[in-house]
């Protein structure tokens, strides 16, 4: 590990070189993996989204120390907003308005045009993503507001409650007005279209995207987009961490009373943590909806909130590289294992003793328990500055007396 570093402050040449190597590997990956079919790249695509979620949650849990157990709600908000505004769902919503507020229905059709009635709204990705970020941020502040005065464990349960409440609403807001289409979820969500190019490929191209004369599978195209977004998320959360705001968050985490005494408006700063964290979740949700083409409430349950938390905890709470590592391990590893372990068991025992789903749960559960017991700062925690205090102080005293 000594050769590979990201410390741009102290070892700039090595750090930039490491990052260049890593980038090259990351860019080459899909072309290599495509040789083995689309599934590997698809797995990494989803993993990249979960890494974004983990980084967003890291702002709330890692920087500010607020244990949010309902974080997936913001993922859901972004996804469902996309579902509503980039699919035929809005038409269904309009239809359901007939019984309730026909005047409202007429007003909307008048504003948006007749096709809304049959096609729904299809906003472009350039509109949907910022909207997802903003609406999710609003929800973040909304859900965070009642928790501001609560101590740690109560805050966790209340946020869990909010996560559940959002899921229940998503599951049931189809009657009388059809916002979310209930348990069936929303289908036919538009894929992402940038500069006239659809990342799902044109119909008839067998999910192949053509840039210039060159064609690549759709999952590869999404890979590059999500990789870009992930890098942007790492960049932004890194900048947030090393700023006046980031310091305020850590101050609140370390000692809220002292933070207040030093002039930090903890209420506003905490709300900002919730909002900023939520906005990343919302963008990831929008990407998820477009990538999958459908959303349903079962993707947004407590299990998912806990999964994202597990990534943050396993990797290194508050330490961005650690969180990315945690995300990679917990998002990709179970899938990798599934491809390895199940055939291995078939070969050895003639049947699958532990299936992939069980394995995945085992990994998550063990990760959280073992990490908290034996390495509470995570697998890759922030480096501590000079953690040999006695040796260092003696040295300093010598220097003073010299």
């Amino acid at each position: 590990m000594a050769l590979f570093t990201f410390d741009t402050a102290h070892k700039p040449r090595q750090a930039w070189a490491s990052m260049a190597v890593l980038l090259a590997l990351l860019l080459a990956f899909p072309f290599v993996a495509s040789q083995f079919g689309n599934s590997w790249v698809r797995i990494i695509d989803i993993a990249l989204l979960y890494i974004m979620l983990a980084l967003g949650l890291n702002i709330v849990v890692g920087f500010a120390g607020l244990l949010d157990l309902g974080y997936i709600a913001f993922f859901a908000v972004g996804a469902y907003l996309t579902g509503l505004l980039a699919s035929p769902q809005f038409a269904a919503l309009l239809e359901s308005l007939i019984n309730y507020h026909p005047e409202l229905q007429d007003a909307i059709v008048a504003t948006f045009g007749e096709e809304v009635r049959s096609n729904g709204i299809h906003l472009s990705v350039w509109a949907v993503v910022p909207l997802a970020a903003i609406v999710a941020a609003l929800f973040g502040a909304l859900l965070g507001a009642p928790t501001l005065k609560l101590r740690g464990d109560y805050l966790a349960i209340v946020t869990l409650g909010f996560g559940e409440i959002i899921r229940i609403f998503m599951n049931n807001l189809n009657d009388p007005i059809n916002f979310t289409n209930g348990p069936q979820g929303i289908n036919l969500i538009d894929p992402i279209r940038v500069f006239g190019l659809s990342l799902a490929g044109e119909p008839g191209s067998r999910a192949t995207v053509f840039i210039g004369g060159y064609g690549m599978p759709s999952v590869n195209a999404y890979y590059f987009l999500f990789l870009l977004l992930c890098i942007a998320t790492i960049f932004m959360t890194g900048r947030l961490q090393h700023s006046r705001l980031g310091r305020a968050w850590v101050a609140i985490r370390e000692d809220e009373i002292a933070a207040k005494a030093m002039g930090i408006n903890t209420r506003n700063v905490k709300l900002l943590a919730f909002s900023m964290g939520a906005s990343f979740g919302g963008v990831a949700g929008a990407m998820f909806a477009s990538f999958q083409g459908f959303v349903s409430p079962e993707s947004f349950s407590l299990t998912e909130s806990i999964s994202v938390l597990a990534m943050v905890v396993l990797g290194g709470i508050g330490h961005i590289p650690g969180v990315v590592l945690g995300g990679v391990l917990l998002a990709a590893l179970p899938e990798v294992l599934r491809h390895v372990v199940e055939p291995a068991q078939q070969a050895l025992f003639g049947k699958v003793v532990i299936d992939a789903e069980v394995l995945r749960q085992l990994l998550y559960g063990l990760a959280m328990v073992l990490v908290m017991l034996y390495r509470p700062a995570g697998l890759w925690p922030s480096p501590v500055k000079e953690d040999r205090p006695l040796a260092a102080t003696a040295k300093d005293e010598e220097a003073e007396n010299a």
């Binding site: 850590v250 370390e254 002292a258 207040k260």
Partner: protein
């Protein structure tokens, strides 16, 4: 005729069945070092907490530099110009010494999310200024060489200094110190005294809770004495030393001197 910096009167505070403070007031002039003493449990820290907004008083009037201020929220009090340290040191343990002091600059600076992400010129300038000032303050209190050390690894005396540096970073007009000399040996106390004089000479008024009588007598311009939540004496150190009520409070009645 010096200006009155802090003018507080009529503070009452009750916790359930206990009347912690009864009609307590204080009047500090600009540039003074003002002491607050009293036996354990007299209500000194409670009074501090009321002044700095950690506790809500049942009644009282509060004036800083001639303007009324509302001690309803600690961060507002810091903004108004009162900074404090704590009896049991409350540093941000996982941050470096420098970062701790940089947090102190929060209340006098403005950059938010936009500045954090985009680091435009104004944001970079502000951040650099914060860093410079923080290092200056660390040097001022004498621990400049530990700027990059994680705070919880500093020695006890250095941690106390760090807390003072952090409080000074808020550019206070009044620095309220809660037992800054607790746990210090004689040498450290001498160094602390010098630091406090340095701070006063730099123009910051000081309000000080302490138990070390010698330190207080030599340092303070005026002293108030609390016992069971009430003011029992106020005046020059020499007067306080001879005050019968004060002597009884500390030694019990019937004790000689």
């Amino acid at each position: 005729m010096s200006q009155v910096l802090l003018n507080i009167s009529g503070v009452n505070k009750r916790f359930g069945g206990l009347q912690a403070l009864t009609g307590v007031g204080i009047r500090i002039e600009k540039g003074q070092v003002y002491g607050l003493i009293g036996p354990n449990g007299a209500g000194k820290t409670t009074f501090f907490n009321v002044i700095t907004g950690l506790y809500q008083p049942d009644s009282g009037s509060f004036e800083l530099a001639g303007q009324p201020y509302s001690p309803s929220a600690p961060h507002a009090v810091a903004k108004a110009g009162i900074a404090r340290t704590f009896q049991n040191i409350r540093l941000f343990g996982e941050m470096t010494a420098l970062e701790n002091v940089m947090v102190g600059r929060h209340v006098r600076t403005r950059q938010g999310v936009f500045g954090a992400i985009f680091r435009h010129r104004a944001a970079r300038a502000e951040e650099a200024a914060i860093r410079v000032r923080a290092q200056e303050l660390l040097d001022f209190v004498g621990i400049g060489q530990f700027a990059q050390r994680t705070a919880r690894f500093l020695s006890y005396g250095d941690q106390r200094r760090l807390e003072i540096a952090r409080a000074l970073a808020t550019d206070p007009v009044l620095l309220a110190l809660d037992e800054p000399a607790a746990g210090m040996n004689a040498t450290e106390k001498v160094a602390l005294r010098e630091l406090l004089v340095k701070i006063r000479d730099a123009g910051v008024t000081i309000l000080l809770i302490e138990h070390d009588v010698k330190l207080m007598m030599g340092l303070c311009d005026r002293i108030s004495v609390l016992e069971y939540g009430k003011l029992i004496a106020e005046g020059l150190p020499a007067e306080i030393q001879k005050n019968q009520a004060v002597i009884e409070a500390y030694l019990g009645s019937g004790g000689g001197h």
